[in-house]
């Protein structure tokens, strides 16, 4: 339909670097629809950056990076054999291919339908918030309530993990699911309070307003809220020292104990995707979103590039925590969540109010 093409071309992402190629492709009959669809702003946001394409890239690099970084700290070398000349970076692809060839075992006592479909369904609460995260002019949905909606959608992910633990019908999976439920109670309130503190500071829940107001990055304005958010992120994505639902040595991997093959691969990436999501949120709230040095040749691609880069660098740094800490016990983590972290998050709201009242925000 001719109308469709015009609508898509009008709202197209404008990247001067590849514009000549796009102009050529738009003249070819069928391909012009596909190219216009991919470069249509909302689809570009969900499919390429900061959506699926960026998630794939992040997953490929972050696993390798984490293993190499941990190995460097631990006086060893990390994965090196798979593609030796480039430092072993293809290891993740090799692991992924191995998962494809491994047999997916659905044991007799499991609720087979839920067991198989839940890892795939788990992508839903992970990808939905991507719709609401804008990257400058590349966005899918713009709303005044984007940030609270993102937090609400992130809160859906533990439900899927608990459901996976229940569907596995295994006592270790059950213990892991219970721990995930408890941990959810531990981190959710401080997380909400930290986000609330920043929304109070900026006066709006719209990411565009928030990023515009960050001439000074949010992390310097309210470092207490940043600290709370970071600790809540570590709790939420099962990173050491809070790797409690998936305690490998205590409950043999918790809710994911019965998964094998490609389902296991999907399940393992779930935690990293959640981390990516929360790093995007952290970048928008605290690190200045998509503000950055202008690169005119990238045009419309520049804001998503900066957003992605900042989120990615944060993820790279957080993966160092794995080499530093041991795992807390569940009741200790709950105690921390409900006493220390909650206190800090309430202090951060107070700081935000103080900053707003004194009109200190530039």
């Amino acid at each position: 339909m001719p109308g469709m093409l015009e609508i898509m071309v009008q709202n197209m992402v404008n990247i001067p670097l590849i514009q000549p190629l796009v102009d050529v492709l738009l003249k070819i009959p069928v391909i012009n629809y596909i190219v216009a669809l991919i470069l249509w702003r909302p689809i570009f946001a969900v499919l390429i950056i900061p959506g699926l394409g960026a998630i794939m890239l992040v997953l490929m690099i972050i696993v390798w990076w984490e293993r190499k970084l941990t190995a460097r700290v631990q006086w060893r070398v990390g994965p090196l054999e798979v593609s030796r000349p480039i430092g072993g970076i293809m290891q993740v692809m090799a692991d992924g291919m191995r998962y494809f060839f491994q047999e997916v075992i659905v044991h007799r006592n499991a609720h087979a339908i839920y067991f198989i479909q839940l890892p795939i369904l788990a992508f839903l609460p992970v990808l939905l918030p991507i719709l609401l995260i804008p990257a400058g002019p590349v966005y899918a949905i713009r709303s005044d309530y984007a940030i609270p909606a993102i937090v609400a959608l992130i809160a859906l992910i533990p439900v899927v993990i608990i459901a996976m633990g229940w569907a596995s019908n295994n006592r270790f999976a059950y213990i892991g699911a219970i721990r995930e439920a408890f941990m959810y109670f531990a981190y959710e309130i401080p997380l909400i309070f930290a986000v609330l503190a920043m929304m109070v500071l900026y006066g709006s829940g719209d990411p565009f307003v928030i990023v515009e107001k960050q001439t000074v990055p949010g992390i310097l304005l309210n470092p207490v809220a940043a600290l709370t958010f970071i600790i809540a992120t570590v709790m939420a994505t099962s990173r050491l020292p809070f790797e409690i639902p998936e305690a490998d040595q205590e409950i043999a991997f918790g809710p994911f104990v019965e998964y094998s093959g490609i389902l296991f691969g999907l399940v393992m990436t779930l935690a990293y995707e959640k981390l990516y999501l929360m790093s995007l949120l952290l970048t928008i709230l605290f690190l200045g979103g998509w503000n950055g040095i202008a690169i005119p040749i990238l045009g419309d691609f520049m804001p998503p590039f900066w957003l992605f880069l900042k989120a990615f660098v944060f993820m790279l740094i957080i993966s160092l925590l794995r080499s530093i800490y041991a795992r807390y016990r569940l009741d200790q983590a709950l105690r921390i969540g409900w006493s220390s972290i909650l206190a800090i998050s309430i202090i951060s709201i107070a700081i935000s109010y103080a900053l707003v009242l004194t009109g200190w925000l530039p």
């Binding site: 941990t70 700290v73 631990q74 006086w75 060893r76 006592r171 270790f172 213990i175 050491l240 020292p241 790797e243 305690a247 490998d248 040595q249 205590e250 409950i251 043999a252 991997f253 794995r322 080499s323 530093i324 800490y325 041991a326 795992r327 807390y328 016990r329 569940l330 009741d331 200790q332």
Partner: protein
């Protein structure tokens, strides 16, 4: 006390059947135990042999919510019947057999067994050989404590704390390789001394290795031993009071962490330990953290012992003159003629040794005529403190099971022999 409300327990008799999996598998607990747990709404978990945090044994845990009510051990998965195997081998052929339970502690295991033979035959060991044996024993002690520290770290999820002690252990293995020729199964101590002499260059290298280990362990201390998460996991966890530790027969550094000062090297000294200057670390709390700290201090004491050995070792033979050998510095060429025909006089001979994890007992019963032992009995420290380990689990949370396991350093191949 007045004013205290009476707590009544209500329970409804629900006819609950234990699941079918308990019928088909071999469960080493009586069926009434399982049904009783189900009726009382307790949870039975098998921390089984195929579990990332269980070692080669099964622990049957009865949970009430998150708290362990009872823990029943199921050891024996690695039982190799060493005591029976030893009855069919010559006395000297048992040396490689009996050093296999402990991974790096072959010095102490060899010492315990060989001292039985020397006591029975009244063989006098030259002083240089005694110093070399003490060197091997202390190197094995450091290696085993590092191994246990690594296992404790990995049971708590601290992967750096696992890799670093194993890397440091690699230096100790390098030292053992230069002395004996093998990495961890030395078989180096024979009745009458050691198999060959160690030259001056190797001893100087061991001195430098000890210095390197100290440097590397200082980083380890900051990242693991003083880490607040580790302290939080281990402090006041798995407490064994002094009376309980004595009652359950706990041995070794785990007994010393509960306040009892008992070390076989001081109580019934052997080799040259009387001449060496070292202290016994004793703790008071009896919790997991104290047990760990006692072992860390023992590493420091062992390093000091090794330094004294390297300084004080006298020149001399390493093979006793009671053994017929070609050369007094190298058993090569006369191993068979000197040692294969050993026959112990009739009687029972027992030695106690302080292995890394506790008191090691060797006892040989000989009938006076055969060149194989009539009966060999040896009890490893792991077997002795298993009961104390299980008792310390009661009342702790499920997540503490791994922390307590690591703090005890229970090693199933050693306990099962």
């Amino acid at each position: 006390m007045t004013g205290m409300k009476e707590v009544r327990e209500m329970s409804i008799e629900v006819p609950v059947e234990p699941p079918a999996e308990y019928e088909s598998l071999f469960i080493p607990v009586p069926k009434e135990f399982v049904e009783d747990a189900y009726r009382k709404d307790d949870f039975i978990v098998f921390i089984g042999p195929q579990h990332p945090g269980s070692g080669h044994m099964r622990i049957i845990v009865r949970l009430k919510g998150d708290f362990i009510v009872e823990a029943i051990p199921d050891p024996g998965y690695v039982h190799r019947s060493m005591e029976k195997l030893a009855e069919n081998r010559l006395y000297v052929q048992n040396i490689p057999l009996l050093e296999r339970p402990a991974i790096m502690d072959f010095g102490n295991y060899n010492l315990g067994y060989v001292r039985v033979i020397e006591e029975a035959l009244d063989i006098e060991v030259p002083e240089r050989a005694q110093y070399l044996r003490v060197l091997l024993a202390e190197l094995g002690r450091i290696g085993t404590h590092l191994y246990d520290a690594g296992i404790l770290a990995v049971f708590m999820g601290h992967t750096t704390g696992f890799m670093w002690p194993f890397a440091v252990r690699e230096f100790i293995v390098e030292a053992l390789t230069h002395i004996t020729g093998a990495r961890i199964t030395g078989s180096f101590i024979i009745p009458g001394g050691v198999r060959r002499d160690v030259d001056e260059k190797v001893l100087r290298m061991i001195g430098r290795i000890i210095f390197t280990i100290e440097n590397r362990l200082e980083k380890f201390e900051r990242v693991f031993i003083r880490n607040p998460t580790v302290v939080a996991r281990l402090k006041d966890v798995g407490v064994l009071t002094r009376e309980e530790a004595i009652k359950y027969g706990v041995v070794g550094p785990f007994l010393r962490a509960s306040g009892v000062e008992y070390d076989v090297r001081r109580v019934e000294s052997y080799e040259v330990y009387d001449d060496l200057d070292f202290e016994i670390p004793v703790g008071d709390d009896g919790d997991g953290y104290t047990r760990f700290l006692v072992r860390v201090e023992e590493i420091a004491q062992s390093m000091s012992i090794i330094r004294q050995v390297i300084d004080r070792i006298p020149e001399g033979d390493v093979i006793s003159s009671d053994i017929e050998a070609i050369s007094r510095n190298d058993i090569r060429g006369s191993f068979y003629d000197a040692l294969a025909k050993i026959t112990l006089p009739a009687g029972e001979y027992t030695t106690l040794t302080e292995a890394a994890r506790g008191t090691l007992l060797f006892s040989v019963l000989s009938d006076g005529a055969s060149n194989v032992p009539y009966r060999l009995r040896f009890v490893t420290p792991g077997w002795m403190y298993l009961k104390g380990f299980m008792e310390s689990l009661k009342g702790e949370r499920l997540a503490d099971l791994q922390a307590i396991y690591g703090s005890f350093g229970y090693f199933p191949p050693e306990a099962d022999r």
